[in-house]
Amino acid sequence: MYETVVGIEVHVELKSNSKVFSHSQNEYSTEPNLYVNEIDLGYPGVLPVLNKKVIEMALQASLALNCKINKVMHFDRKNYFYPDLPKGYQITEQDTPIGYDGYIDIGDKKIGIERLHIEEDTCKSIHGKRGTMLDANRAGVPLIEIVSKPDMRSPEDAVKYLTKLREILLYLGISDVKIEEGSMRCDCNVSIHKPGTPLGTKIEIKNIGSINNVGEAIKYEIKRQSEILDNGDKIEHEETRRLDDKTMTTILMRVKETGNDYRYFPEPDIPYVELSDDWINDVKANMPVFADELKEKYKNLGINDNNIKTIIGRLDLCQFLESVIDSVDPVTASNLLTGDILSYLNKNYVSINKIKLNKDNFSELVNDITGGKISSKQAKELVPYLIENGGSVKDAVDTLGLNEITDTNALNDIVKRVLDSNPESIKDYNDGKDRAIKYLMGQIMKETGGKANPAIASQILMSLIKDYKL
């Protein structure tokens, strides 16, 4: 039997307002070269600035991953020629990564973090027949690269590690961490060897499209590499491979050359960064509550497991629930959030912060439901209305006419009562005087405090009056 050794490098885009070394907007766009200035294009004479928010986000991530902090940092230049790299070098932190020597607890064990450093993203390349087309919107977008130690021993370890890493970054609110959209990118190194023998030759699998596929890629590699070794062959060269997600097999991209020569040297255009203990302590003190704690809390509040899973998986829902949880019934609130509200959000690709249902009217709604003022049937009508229009539940109920009496049995009794006490009007009606009906409707409204549904009430009145025996 072979032992599997896996190490993972993850690049994560941070969602600051502006780019890391320029004031261009940090935003995704399908329109090319929209968020670009002369710094991003590496124009002659330009110099970088340094976005403080990016340092803070990277510091949060480092602390959340239990890293030690390099309190004195400088940036370095990584020099290589590639069309997506406008300056011919990438500004990164080679010597002094902001975080190092941390770990993630994946339940049954800890996976070490070798380093976490800040760097800039490159242009997006679109490869076509007539050439490669460059879009600089992504050039200079802040990235953190998180390099694990080779501590994983199975596909399951890798999936757990990435799931946990993603959850932590999501809860820090520093990235969208969407693998499909490229805001989180995973490269993993896989090798196998017999226990007690030296480590095997590393195979790198680049740019895998989902966390589950990382597991699949590793599974396939274990199989592929085992077969080679079982045949008595050797894995001769370090290779870079990619996962073909149709066949779930890995395909050779290239054999790695002997050590890329990136000619790193300290970036002279950016002065030293010194992280004060005050700042570090402040970031530590303001760490958000992480998923594990919340899961436990929701369980104790009686929220069911499915709802917990759904809410934990969507940071916006979770934060929303957290903002109201002390003033409403958590179970009712979680049911509403994971039901019609989530359906709406998913259908319209929006986050809960972008709709008109807010903390106030949501709390009012939940309390009206638990207080028996609103039925769950009425709530179903109210939710889409509040999402689109906002305002108080009370006003919505009025506008939607939800407080009308529409119950025919109840209205029947009321109409009967009105007829019983108004024989004169029945007589008038029988004599062909139409205003009698108007008068009787007025009486019905008076009796119900104006809440009777006029159409239904009128229909009942007409049918009862015809057969009424004086």
Binding site: E38, Y43, P44, N79, P83, P86, G88, D261, R263, P266
Partner: protein, 481 residues
């Protein structure tokens, strides 16, 4: 032909204020002089814009002493809409889309940009001969090099084509041509003037500074361009003082050091004699002048080769034919596009330096050479700091000799470095320093080096103005002098 451009800035300003002349007269005179000059001091002229600007200024209030003064700008400082080439084929059609911070400041002061001056390609050279646009001539003797890399700026000011030019100095590129052309050239403290918009050669050494005919004009120009710029993170928050404030003030308590390295046998004897005469003059004026020894200055050249060329190999990687500049027509893939564009686009000196720089940073060399050089640099800087804690100024010659004939040393790869033997240490430490004309050797100017403490440019001007006044040299290279 009018001769307003022979006057000092203060005199021109008086004439503008009392309406004897208009900015247009100055601009016309500058272009007349440039067009009748054979020095090849300019790469691109800004005639149309300059004339337009001069006319517009007629309706504006004269709000500062440099109002309406023509200025030339070295062609490695970007000017929006005005071609900027760094004297390289690889940028020979480059049309900048933004202004350098110094250009913005110049425009704010209503100075008039006359054109972009010739230089060594990407500021790599000490003769002006590496320019893609041909070499500049020395106004004192057209068979001699003007020095470099700010060759056009120094020649244009020396020949009185413009009263002021901006140069840049990475290892001596303001001071060395100033010394060869008989102009006053100052490299300010690193961080004193914003580098935003300066086409980088070696980022930790580059600095922009003024080249003028006299000391006070130089200080006036530094007043305009100095100051913090948030776009350059290495620019200083140190207060900007009036750099003319100590000009004419008594120098008798100044303490001055002369490192023996600067007066060694490697320096021409006649040049040393000139400096010795100045030392005697200063002693008589009541200055304390001591000979001192410094240990690390002698490592200047290898230090410079490692640091400047390492940084340059990275700074010049962006010229790849993709976003701007020259692109080869012969390529079948991206690698060939890179290699041929850079092969055809860069001149020989630049290519040699890029290879050296790449080599220095590659593999184990990064530690062996580059990291070691950064440690030596610290030692050298500490040594300077120590000297300047005891002395106000350090003086010596700017160069090992006066200007030499064009074409003599082009194939000697080391020559251009040895020209900067005495100027490089100052860039390593980031100190301010000036070259001041102190006389002639066989009719060619000789410059003296005055090195000051960090952000104490005004003390350099104080001493320089005293020497200038005492010597009262005729620094007009034209025949009618």
């Amino acid at each position: 032909m009018s001769k307003y451009l022979d006057l000092s800035i203060k005199e021109i300003n008086e004439l503008l204020k009392n309406k004897t002349i208009k900015p247009l007269d100055l601009v016309n005179e500058a272009f007349e002089r440039i067009e009748s000059s054979n020095l090849n001091a300019f790469i691109t002229l800004n005639k149309e814009e300059a004339l337009k600007e001069a006319k517009e200024l007629e309706n504006k209030e004269i709000d500062n002493i440099l109002f309406g003064i023509p200025v030339a700008i070295k062609d490695n400082i970007v000017t929006k809409g005005l071609r900027t080439t760094a004297a390289s084929h690889i940028l020979d059609d480059f049309d900048p889309i933004y202004d350098a911070e110094v250009v913005r400041k110049i425009k704010d002061s209503h100075m008039i940009i006359i054109g972009k001056t010739n230089m060594d390609e990407f500021a790599m050279g000490s003769t002006g001969e590496t320019s893609y646009f041909g070499n500049t001539l020395n106004p004192w003797d057209n068979t001699m090099v003007p020095g470099g890399s700010s060759s056009g700026s120094a020649a244009a000011v020396s020949a009185r084509l413009v009263p002021i030019a901006l140069g840049t100095d990475t290892g001596g590129s303001i001071r060395q041509p100033s010394s060869f052309c008989g102009t006053v050239g100052l490299k300010p403290t690193y961080g004193r003037v914003s580098r935003y918009g300066l086409i980088a050669f070696a980022s930790s050494l580059d600095q922009i500074g003024p080249i003028t005919r006299n000391v006070i004009d130089n200080a006036l120009m530094l007043n305009v361009i100095a100051g913090r710029d948030d776009k350059d993170l290495t620019s200083s928050y140190e207060d900007v003082t009036d750099y003319t404030s100590l000009i004419g003030k008594d120098i008798k308590n100044l303490k001055i050091a002369v490192p023996d390295f600067y007066m060694s046998d490697a320096i021409d004897k006649e040049v040393r004699n000139k400096v010795t005469n100045i030392i005697d003059m200063l002693k008589k004026a009541g200055c304390t002048v001591h000979s001192i020894s410094m240990k690390y200055v002698e490592n200047a050249i290898p230090l410079y080769q490692v640091i400047a060329l390492g940084e340059a190999s990275s700074n010049l990687a962006r010229y790849d034919g993709v976003k701007y500049g020259y692109v080869t027509s012969e390529y079948k893939d991206i690698e060939q596009l890179y290699k041929m564009t850079r092969y055809e686009g860069f001149g020989r000196e630049v290519k040699r330096r890029l290879m050296i720089g790449s080599y220095i940073l590659s593999g184990k060399n990064a530690d062996k050479y580059y990291r070691k050089a950064l440690i030596v640099r610290k030692k050298l800087t500490d040594e300077f700091k120590d000297v300047l804690s005891k002395y106000d100024l350090i003086i010596g010659p700017t160069n090992t000799d006066s200007a030499y004939p064009l074409g003599t040393k082009q194939d000697d790869a080391l020559k251009s470095f040895y020209d900067d033997l005495l100027t490089i240490p100052v860039n390593m430490a980031g100190l301010p320093a000036m070259s001041l004309p102190i006389g002639f050797k066989n009719g060619m100017p000789v410059g003296m080096h005055i090195i000051g403490n960090y952000f104490k440019e005004e003390v350099i001007y104080q001493l320089a103005s005293y020497i200038e006044k005492e010597l009262n040299l005729n620094l007009d290279p034209r025949g009618d002098k």
